[in-house]
């Protein structure tokens, strides 16, 4: 009985047993091996399926508008300054100083008869000169930020002068202030409203910082057809780092390992990506759509022509979309003129806000004002305390000292809960120092972040409008507290024109600020009061 022996040789990549990462990469350097594996896996078998070769669609562009004409055009300006700008953002420190000096120089020149208007101020570092006239005293700059602080008390504040003399020719260059401000001081967040024809775009409780399509919700339907162009483009297969290759044995990007992404609840996009890759990852196609920035881009009548010249209509999935704005049509895409890298100035103000559950109040702590860190203890620091548990010597009589109050801190501002039937609010208060002969109120909060917006216009005689007490909604403060920042930023609009604004932003804190304020305390280890 004869026997035959068939002998085959097979080339396989060397199993990378020692390096798991190389195994993920599945490096193959043999094209014939790839070709053979394609054959084995049936990739060379014919199929009558088609391939998309052309996409035709009709894009609509619906420009975004703002109801307030004093607000920068939202179709040309990045949304951050449109929403976050403050009323006095034009007044940079340099402009305050220049226009203040120009106003006073004009005042001085207007005096006749050899008199002086009393506008001279001592230069920084020089001997103190005569005080300015009383009528000008309130125009001396006192709150210039870093690094201009050495000019406080030595220069005129153009902004203060402008508020009292807005019609002076010196201030003809000052633009009209905007009417609408987005900051909601009781919520510590921004609200803003935009229009897009019949659609209303609402931005609610924005924390400050980067904005994009996800920052707004819509109400109504932007039905106007503003610009229709029959556009046709060529689709291409969806590719992204680590995307599956169309062929099973095509060499893929070895630098990306989709299976290596740890999916978790915090990475919804990762979960979606893995679902996409593991599902029908190589059956997705994309096509480019050019849209005018600052508008809602709507795709209508999307048709796909395949390689057999068949036309297929495409409709969006009724129940799912990744870039959909609530309230808008599934085919709508909001295109803001976003800028990812604005120029950032130094942090002007930093305030920590946290709930003191024991005292049932909120503390707001000013850590930085006018670009400079401020001490929050100062001369109100507690005296040194004996260590807890320190034993007394036998026969020694402990000495106690009564303190009506201890734990006072500079720049700590309390907010007391006002529980009304209609709403609960934290009301800003002031701490009084009860340790002296007479109670002394500590200074008021100076940070702009802790000020309420004036609800009335300035008086006709020039007196500023009454500033209401700052209130906070309980829902504005998370359990771990919140960190508020205020800083100047600069971007350019689509014309290249710079837009300067002061941004407020809020970030969650990891730990709330702790305060040891207490009353009616006996301290051990001190001499008793006499």
């Amino acid at each position: 009985m004869g026997s035959s022996t068939q002998k085959f040789r097979r080339l396989d990549p060397h199993p990378p047993y020692r390096d798991l990462q190389k195994g993920f990469h599945a490096e193959v350097h043999d094209p014939l091996y790839c070709l053979g594996m394609q054959y084995l896996l049936g990739e060379h078998q014919g199929s009558d399926a088609s391939t998309p070769v052309e996409v035709r669609f009709d894009p609509d562009e619906i420009p975004i508008e703002h109801t307030d004409p004093t607000v920068p055009d939202p179709s040309a300006t990045p949304p951050e300054p449109v929403v976050e700008a403050e009323a006095d953002d034009w007044w940079t420190p340099g402009r305050r100083l220049r226009l203040g000096r120009a106003y006073m120089a004009r005042k001085e020149a207007a005096e006749s008869g050899g008199k002086t208007a009393g506008t001279a101020l001592p230069a920084p570092g020089s001997e103190p000169g005569p005080a300015p006239k009383e009528q000008f005293a309130r125009y001396v700059a006192t709150d210039l930020p870093h690094p201009y602080q050495h000019l406080n008390g030595h220069a005129w504040d153009g902004l203060a002068l402008f508020r009292d003399h807005p019609d002076d020719p010196v201030f003809s260059v000052v633009p009209n202030p905007r009417n609408t401000l987005g900051w909601r001081s009781e919520q510590l967040a921004y609200d803003a409203d935009f229009e897009a024809k019949n659609a209303h775009l609402a931005m609610r409780r924005h924390d400050g910082g980067a904005m994009d399509w996800y920052s707004v919700d819509a109400d109504g339907s932007a039905s106007a057809r503003c610009r229709i162009r029959d556009t046709y483009v060529m689709p291409s297969r969806l590719r992204f780092p680590g995307s599956p290759a169309p062929r099973w044995w095509e060499i893929e990007d070895q630098r990306v390992d989709i299976g290596g992404y740890p999916p978790d609840r915090g990475h919804l996009a990762t979960l979606l990506l893995i679902e996409l890759v593991m599902g029908i990852g190589d059956d997705w196609f994309t096509f480019p759509v050019q849209g005018r920035t600052g508008s809602i881009l709507r795709l209508t009548n999307v048709r796909i022509r395949d390689s057999f010249d068949d036309i297929w209509g495409v409709e969006p999935a009724p129940d799912w979309s990744l870039f959909r704005i609530a309230g808008l049509d599934p085919c709508d895409l909001l295109l803001w003129p976003t800028v990812t890298t604005p120029l950032r100035g130094r942090v002007l103000e930093e305030v920590l806000v946290g709930v003191d559950e024991d005292a049932n109040l909120v503390w707001a702590v000013e850590n930085r004002l006018n670009g400079r860190d401020v001490p929050t203890t100062g001369d109100l620091a507690d005296p040194p305390q004996p260590q807890t548990g320190e034993p007394f010597q036998t026969g020694e009589t402990p000495e106690y000292r009564y303190r009506v109050q201890r734990g006072l801190r500079n720049h700590w501002h309390p907010y007391l809960l006002e529980d009304r039937p209609d709403q609960r609010m934290f009301i800003q208060g002031r701490v009084a120092n009860l340790e002296g002969q007479d109670p002394q109120l500590l200074p008021e909060a100076r940070a702009h972040l802790l000020q309420a917006r004036p609800t009335t216009r300035p008086h006709a005689d020039g007196r500023p409008a009454a500033t209401p007490i700052h209130r906070l909604q309980p829902t504005a403060i998370p359990a771990t507290g919140v960190r508020l920042l205020r800083r100047t930023k600069l971007v350019r609009d689509i014309h290249g024109i710079p837009v300067l604004w002061t941004e407020r932003s809020r970030q969650p804190l990891k730990a709330i600020p702790a305060n040891r304020l207490g009353f009616d305390a006996l301290e051990v280890g001190s001499q008793p009061d006499t």
Partner: protein, 377 residues
């Protein structure tokens, strides 16, 4: 210019002078200008004349520091120590609390030795970059290393360029101090210090003069009022003014502004020689495009069939000999045989299939991949 140390010991009426001196120092650029900063062709190997000059400066500074240390060590009596202590004061080396009893020269010599020990040797400095040399000079010359070090350029380089560019743009530069500087100074601290210097010196002749390249003078913010992107005439083919219409590439949009001490930028001054140039600040900004490229995706069941992706390239074994028809045939046959070897399916492998990695194979009948190789044995 030992601002930090001197300020503590000055006291009294001199404080204002020292404070002013500190502000002037703070306003000066901290980084030296490189040829690339001035728009000149840079040297990729950093062999510019400016670097060579900085190296010479450092080596000379170190030699002087070494001689001072030797002089401090040799100053044994008060008479000999007095001039040496005066030299040491110029380096910011002052006896503690201003007292001169004890052995101040020896103490200061120890402080000088510490500085020298932390500075690179003259030979090691030859490998430093411009930034490294600047840091070495500042840290050796002062106690806190906060010392502006500038590079030197021919004065003609500045004045000739300014004279050429000022033609037709006279007076526009002055507006930048009022239009441009207050805006950018709000977000760029080095420019805020420059603005303070300008504000404090208005009226006393100390204001620094300004020169800018023509692009900046005509349009300090690169604006284009005549170009209205919201116009109905705008089409996809229109481009922003900072984009080359032919290539679609962004033009060189560098804007350079030169501030000079009084007289330094005076084109009428025939003085030649060198000027010290420093880099106040540099940054980049983005302008949002009028037209954004968005995209949409759709699912389409693509066919499983794919065209073969291998290209057979036949090369003669002897490069000096033409590839004959038979050689080409042999090559194709060999490639087919090699490919067939690679296409051995698991059934043909029989017992050897246990070594086949099946993790990447689809368990479909058409592929004939058996995931239970021992079942039929």
């Amino acid at each position: 210019m030992q601002a930090g140390t001197t300020a503590k010991s000055a006291g009294g009426p001199g404080d204002a002078f020292v404070e002013r001196l500190q502000r002037i120092l703070a306003a000066l650029p901290r980084s030296p200008a490189t040829p690339a900063n001035l728009g000149l062709i840079g040297d990729a190997k950093d062999n510019s004349p400016q670097r060579s000059e900085l190296l010479d400066r450092y080596q000379h500074l170190r030699a002087v520091a070494l001689s001072l240390r030797a002089a401090l060590a040799g100053a044994l009596d008060d008479a000999a120590a007095a001039p040496v202590l005066q030299r040491a004061a110029a380096w910011g080396l002052i006896p503690a609390d201003g007292r001169e009893e004890g052995q101040p020269a020896a103490d200061l010599g120890g402080m000088m030795s510490t500085r020298l020990d932390h500075s690179p040797t003259s030979s090691a400095a030859g490998d430093l970059t411009v930034d490294g040399l600047v840091r070495a000079i500042a840290e050796l010359a002062t106690a806190d290393g906060r010392y502006p070090v500038l590079t030197r350029f021919p004065r003609s380089l500045i004045t000739e360029g300014r004279q050429r560019d000022l033609q037709g743009a006279s007076g526009a530069a002055n507006a930048l101090d009022e239009r441009w500087l207050p805006v950018v100074a709000a977000v760029r601290e080095p420019l805020a210090r420059l603005e303070i210097h300008q504000l404090e010196n208005e009226g006393n002749g100390g204001v620094w003069s300004l020169w800018s390249d023509p692009v900046t003078l005509e349009n300090p913010f690169h604006t284009a009022p005549a170009w209205d992107p919201r116009s109905e005439t705008v089409t996809k083919t229109e481009t922003a003014p900072w984009v080359d219409a032919h290539t679609g590439q962004v033009k060189d949009s560098h804007a350079r502004l030169y501030y000079g001490a009084p007289g330094a930028l005076d084109v009428e001054d025939p003085t030649t020689g060198e000027v010290a140039v420093g880099l106040f600040d540099f940054w980049s900004e983005l302008v949002p495009d009028v037209v954004q490229d968005a995209g949409a995706g759709f699912a389409f069941r693509a066919p499983p069939a794919r065209a073969p992706q291998a290209v057979l390239l036949a090369i003669p074994a002897n490069a000096q000999r033409r590839l004959k028809d038979q050689d080409l045939l042999d090559t194709v046959v060999e490639a087919r045989r090699l490919a067939r070897v690679r296409m051995v399916d698991p059934h043909q492998m029989k017992g050897m299939r246990a070594g086949l990695s099946t993790i990447l194979l689809d368990d479909e009948e058409r592929n004939r991949v058996d995931l239970n190789p021992w079942e039929d044995e």
